[in-house]
Subunit: 134 residues, 2 copies
Amino acid sequence: MTNKFPQRSHCPINYALESFGDKWTLLIIRDLMFNDKQSYGDFLASGEKISTNILADRLKRLEELGIVTKGAQAPNRSKVAYSLTQKGRDLLPIMLEITRWSGKYDADTYASRSFLMRLEQDRDKLIAAIRAGW
Amino acid sequence: MTNKFPQRSHCPINYALESFGDKWTLLIIRDLMFNDKQSYGDFLASGEKISTNILADRLKRLEELGIVTKGAQAPNRSKVAYSLTQKGRDLLPIMLEITRWSGKYDADTYASRSFLMRLEQDRDKLIAAIRAGW
């Protein structure tokens, strides 16, 4: 049986890196998860200035990995709506722990003090609240 | 003031990606955090077969970012002992959430069922136990 994504190892850290170990993929996940973005054009407009070819490549890969799913194809591909699958939504605790770490160490972080406080004080409740909105 | 590491943005997800958004860095963190590895040779011996030039580059960057610190230089550089700083150790919750996600979605995961169970049932206690050993 051939495997489209041969793994270097099945170490859980490695599995994750094979899925999103690059400089861009988690930004797309972030936009889908927290920023209410869903179209090609939405992702392109984000502050980090992802290029069209990297975006197309990463979205395709995320679909193949079952992390993102694509709505019905519209005539204009900028109108296709992407969304997170359950596997994608299950990245939430990772994203929140990343936010906590960056909030602690990046003096110029965009993360609001109130969000970081909520995360520090009751992470599980915050996760439940976000999930309730899905 | 020039900044050696200009950020694409101060989004907390982006900050983390600028620190470890590649296919290798978290494997080095993993080896330091969970596998009791500390030397150049130790990291090279890991299953994913990191190359010497990538390893040297990532270790240098991790030092510059204050995530890893290097012990006294021995005559043979393979004997230099690296260790995690507090900033590095604070990656623990991220590493554990990654383990949980991969443990759920990688059918061939190396993560043991007992470890995943512990993580699922009492994550905070597990974190405290690991920290107590540092």
